[in-house]
Symmetry: D2
Subunit: 130 residues, 4 copies
């Protein structure tokens, strides 16, 4: 997926970095959505409300964060910041349950997305310092 | 719409306050979505990318914020905080264009939603102080 | 929530009927989202993938259906038709589990939304017959 | 993005075909979202309500359709059918405006997504014939 989106804001990020973050958020949305279904199907500790709940949360904020960036919204640093926080929580919840390849994979994807979103959110602060 | 949602988190807000915030976010989602269409239909300064863009942003983060609260997510203070910031920006963008009843109404709805979301976001800090 | 949305299409429904359908879809979105969380929290037969899965499906298509109508989209009859089908399935899945007030309520809300959406979808066919 | 999602339904599609359709829907969501912003930024005939409206519609139903498949929902044939219809309309609206590389690209992406979704929707009918 190649992006050539318009940016209507002053905080001009490197396009490659934003495209990378969009991809990370879209992938995290898909993986969290799949993993929530997997957990419900597994039942037991996998279907705990805390785990499934944060997976649904993470899927939704990742989609929102991706869409803000795709729209070139000047508010994407705010949504990236929120997304990073939820991704961190989701990664921890997934990593807390041992012995599941699916949850380990999801934890990794959420962790990567959190890092990418943190970089986008931080670039706003850098801009403000200029 | 009466809500009797489960809360799976420590930060127990007053239910009435959360229900009020859910309603505010859902209403703001609807009004921003309608107002974006109105602006595109009007054309001219109403159809400026900055205005339509923030209306689409606001509609989406309001929906996300409402859903986090409906799910009783412990992360709802984060999404409420993000929602408040975008609502403030949307209210300003709407108020900046004079002579439109629709935009004045949207500015008012966004302002109310921002206030409600700010209260929800702030209640997290209070909890942390306890 | 009073709506005064613009309609950009030939198939002019009665505004009250469309507003009623928007409300039904928004309410069904909220109730299905809450009920999915309730089911996951309950565990056991409530947390069966078939039930939670269709609740998540229903919540999402209801939101999509509502948004198409709020935008005054000429394609709202298509999304209303899809929404009605998923609502029917969700109402059946909820009604199949006895002894739960929450699921009985959700079944009722989904059934009402299905009826409202079916009327909207059918009004398109009537228009075509003219 | 590799998918290994669970299917909880009888209508077992070829996994590659479903993965391809998920990718098509996600790409179409992104391209329609970007193209809507592009059209609003361009103004004039690009910012006509019919065009921007169907781009927003298409972006939303593509996301919904993708999510139903990612969840392995048995109702994905219904949402794929709705998605195909909206994608067809969006492709036509984009193709109707000449001389824009962005709209020509969007028309192509919507056309491909429509074809992929039609195959998924049709596979349900085939299953029913067995």
């Amino acid at each position: 997926m190649a992006h050539s989106h318009e940016h209507d804001h002053d905080h001009e990020h490197d396009h490659d970095e934003m495209d990378e973050c969009i991809e990370a958020c879209l992938q995290c949305h898909v993986v969290c959505t799949m993993t929530a279904q997997y957990c419900i199907a597994q039942g037991g500790e996998h279907a705990a409300l805390d785990l499934v709940g944060v997976l649904l949360d993470c899927a939704q904020i990742c989609q929102t964060s991706a869409d803000f960036m795709v729209r070139g919204s000047p508010y994407h640093t705010i949504t990236c910041g929120a997304c990073a926080a939820v991704c961190r929580g989701c990664a921890e919840a997934c990593a807390a349950i041992e012995g599941s390849e699916e949850l380990a994979h999801c934890a990794e994807v959420c962790g990567s997305c959190a890092e990418s979103c943190e970089r986008m959110a931080a670039s706003d602060d850098e801009d403000d310092d200029e």
